[in-house]
Amino acid sequence: MTIESLLFYAFACMAIVSALLLVNIRNTARALFLLFIVLFAMAGLYLFALADFIAITQILVYVGGVLILLIFAFMLSNKELLNDLQSTSKHFISLPNWQALVLAFAFLGVMVYSYISWSQHMPQWIAQSEAKGSIILPTDNNIKALGFKFMTQYVLPFEIISVFLMMALIGAAHVSRKEDDI
């Protein structure tokens, strides 16, 4: 077992375990903190797939943006809510909702089953890429390549996503305005 795989397992375990904790914990604030760990671990996993830029973006956007947003929202929805949520948490870990559990496990089972059945039979295009050597290597300058792609091949989605972000911004801002503004 190489260091690489050991690290991978470590990150994977971190992500999964904290995710499990995250969904079973009563306290929302702590849960959000655990989310931070999960996202961080996920970013680590991206690195193993040689997606360094994605990992950075993940941390920047998620940890720096989304998570902060979540916490803000949590804080903004005032104190009573905080108390309300905390008061119900008699136990550190809440009892699972069994139907949801069954469903989640069913999905997990199906997915894992299909992945394992798939592992014997990897898609041809991967083999072709490997053969042609057109796979991303740790030495590649991903950021440059991505930047180039964004401005050429993916310029249209890039343009559109800008409009999209703008719209989301305006919309979110408008919706979350105080009542008396409306």
Binding site: A100, F107, V110, Y113
Partner: protein
């Protein structure tokens, strides 16, 4: 040619006069109450029928003419006029009977509030009946056939405010409908197999009926099942119209109509239409059907006579008597002597019409007297009459003549025609032998019974003493008015033998029999011509004597006192006893049978109608709750499924997600596993 028009046109005119009268009266409404129009019309019809149709045609020529009516598929149906001996005779009979009845009605129906309707209906009836007689096409015949039924419906229900009348006309029409269906089925069968309904084409009735094997019908296997069925179907039609057992139940009820109507329709003409129909389609019948006709005819004659014995309503006695006589005619047809049947039809038309008219006169006077004397009793009930010969001598004489004719007393027309049937039946039976002999024997018994019951009627009405004698001194009892008496006298004259032939005793020499003369295959037996009339007359006289002693002398054998007197007085005790047992037995039988008739045969009718009503109620229940219920419950089930679907929509977001994802995972699992 007595009239400068062809008999075809003449017979159409005969038909059209009453129609025009009827339509005119319908249009005039209440303004036409005199009945002049109807009277003129029927008078014209009678004259034309006699001089324009009957005389030129009778025994000389046979004419037919047809016009295209409509085309269905490849078949073209025609309407047409067929004038031959049979139809000309029938038409004349109808006219000649209708005329006196019209005259009579003027007096009889005077002052009735619905008189305008009466004339209209009566003319309508005459039109239909006259049209029926000369129809060329079976479908055309059927139309008139039903039309007379309709007119009869209207006339029976003439006093519609009377509940019984309203019931009676419904019953009459419905039972006739059964027969009509038979007729229709018969028509349909003939049409299906022969492709035509034209009588001339079917039977080739160009001249005499003798040549029955010339028409289309000759090419048909007479023993085919459909022929039997068709024959039976036609007979069913005739049974209902001619009140044959067990479809006779409507006729006694039909006496709810005015008596003049009863005399014309329910005694003389319409009810005889069945016999006429059978004569018309006679070649169609095979052995089986004829035998059934004989049996039913005999049964009818017997039951009618028996029922007549026990009646107290004067019109009912006559009604049952009509049924009985119609049975005779049926027997006549059944044994192949349709000429005899037609003969009896003709004579019967006269004397039965007369009987009814006399009865009508009696009832009329009784009603008037009752109203004046301010008494309340049923004017039709025999028991309230008695000794009327002193008050109404002319009526008495007329009625006696008619009764004698009915009883088959020599020198009357009835004697001739009845003998002709009974004797022919005897010849027929002796030709066939075996149990067939039962038929003439029964007929003879029936004839004697006939004499007895009509004698009973005469004796009860005209002899003895009037029940309300105490009132008679203050309020005078009138003879019938002249307008009623004239037709009666005319009919009385027509009920005697001279009208039909010069020979007093030999029916063969009567002109009707000579001309029509059906080909019978069995030999004539001379001795029958002797002993049967003797037997009949003797029986009749015996019956009257018994009746005299019972009803006039009040020696009614059922009365306790009198029988003891008898017992003491008479030496021939045993003889007397036997006779009384026999007679009493007959009477008892009559009563029982009448009860049977009322409660069983009529009861079956009632039960049937009850059953149909019940069935219809059940079917309606089924329709409402099962058929419709099924539809409604289907709709409700759809609704309920809609309701179930809504269960998902419980407003719980996570429920929604769980629902959707559960379906997804189930889908995936299903797809992976298969």
């Amino acid at each position: 040619m007595l009239l400068p028009i062809s008999p075809i046109i003449a017979s159409i005119l005969v038909m059209l006069f009453p129609l025009v009268a009827s339509v005119l009266q319908a249009m005039l409404g209440k303004k036409a109450i005199s009945g002049n129009m109807a009277l003129i019309a029927i008078l014209g019809s009678t004259i034309i029928s006699l001089f324009g149709v009957f005389l030129p045609v009778w025994n000389s020529t046979s004419l037919q003419q047809k016009w295209e009516w409509f085309t269905i598929g490849d078949h073209t149906l025609h309407v047409g006029i067929l004038v031959n001996n049979l139809t000309a005779l029938m038409q004349l009979v109808v006219c000649v009977i209708a005329l006196p009845v019209h005259i009579y009605s003027r007096a009889y129906m005077k002052g009735d509030s619905g008189i305008h309707r009466y004339w209209m209906y009566l003319s309508l009836f005459c039109f239909a009946m006259l049209g029926l007689t000369v129809s060329l096409n079976l479908l055309q015949l059927y139309i008139f056939w039903e039309l007379v039924g309709f007119a009869s419906y209207l006339l029976i229900g003439f006093w519609f405010t009377k509940e019984t009348a309203a019931q009676a006309n419904k019953k009459a029409f419905l039972i006739n409908r059964i027969g009509d269906l038979g007729f229709l089925i018969g028509i349909a069968l003939v049409y299906a197999h022969c492709g035509t309904l034209d009588l001339a084409t079917l039977f080739n009735q160009t001249g005499f009926f003798k040549d029955i094997d010339i028409g289309l019908i000759s090419s048909i296997d007479k023993n085919a099942t459909w022929v039997t069925f068709a024959g039976l179907a036609f007979f069913l039609g005739a049974m209902a119209k001619s009140a044959q057992f067990p479809l006779h139940v409507w006729l006694p009820d039909a006496m709810e109509g005015p008596t003049s109507v009863s005399s014309l329709i329910h005694a003389a003409t319409m009810v005889a239409a069945g016999v006429f129909l059978l004569c018309t389609v006679f070649p169609l019948f095979n052995e089986t059907v004829l035998l059934i006709i004989v049996i039913i005819g005999t049964l009818t004659a017997l039951s009618g006579a028996l029922f007549a014995l026990g009646q107290y309503d004067i019109k009912k006695v006559l009604a049952f008597s009509t049924i009985s006589q119609l049975g005779f005619m049926m027997v006549g047809v059944g044994i192949g002597a349709w000429d005899a049947a037609m003969f009896h039809l003709t004579t019967h038309a006269f004397f039965k019409c007369l009987l009814f008219l006399c009865a009508g006169a009696l009832i009329h006077e009784m009603t008037h007297w009752k109203a004046k004397a301010q008494l309340d009793f049923d004017p039709k009930d025999l028991r309230h009459m008695g000794g009327l010969r002193r008050f109404m001598p002319k009526t008495f004489i007329c009625m006696v003549i008619a009764s004698l004719s009915l009883a088959g007393f020599p020198s009357t027309s009835g004697y001739l025609s009845k003998d002709s049937i009974v004797i022919t039946a005897y010849e027929w039976a002796s030709h066939l032998g075996g149990a067939y002999v039962l038929i003439p024997i029964l007929l003879i018994i029936i004839s004697i019974l006939t004499a007895f019951y009509i004698g009973r009627l005469i004796l009860k009405v005209f002899f003895g003493s009037f029940k309300y004698r105490s009132h008679i001194k203050t309020i005078k009892f009138h003879e019938a008015p002249k307008a009623m008496l004239i037709p009666m006298v005319f009919l009385a004259a027509a009920s005697l033998f001279p009208l039909f032939g010069l020979s007093l005793a030999d029916y063969h020499s009567s002109w009707i029999m000579q001309t029509l003369d059906a080909n019978t295959i069995y030999p004539t037996q001379a001795q029958a011509h002797l002993f049967i009339p003797a037997l009949l007359t003797g029986g009749a006289i015996l019956g009257w004597l018994v009746g005299w002693s019972w009803y006039v002398k009040k020696k009614y054998p059922l009365s306790e006192n009198n029988r003891l007197v008898h017992f003491a007085n008479k030496q021939g005790y045993l003889n007397e006893f036997n006779e009384s047992i026999f007679v009493k037995g007959t009477l008892e039988l009559s009563r029982i049978l009448y009860i049977f008739d009322q409660y069983m045969v009529d009861g079956i009718t009632k039960f049937f109608s009850w059953f149909v009503r019940g069935l219809s109620a059940a079917v309606y229940w089924f329709d409402k709750y099962i058929v419709d219920g099924l539809v409604n419950s289907f709709a409700q089930a759809t609704y309920y499924i809609g309701h179930l679907v809504r269960h998902v929509q419980n407003g719980q977001l996570q429920g929604y997600l769980g629902f959707a994802l559960t379906i997804v995972i189930l889908g995936i699992l299903y797809l992976i596993i298969t």
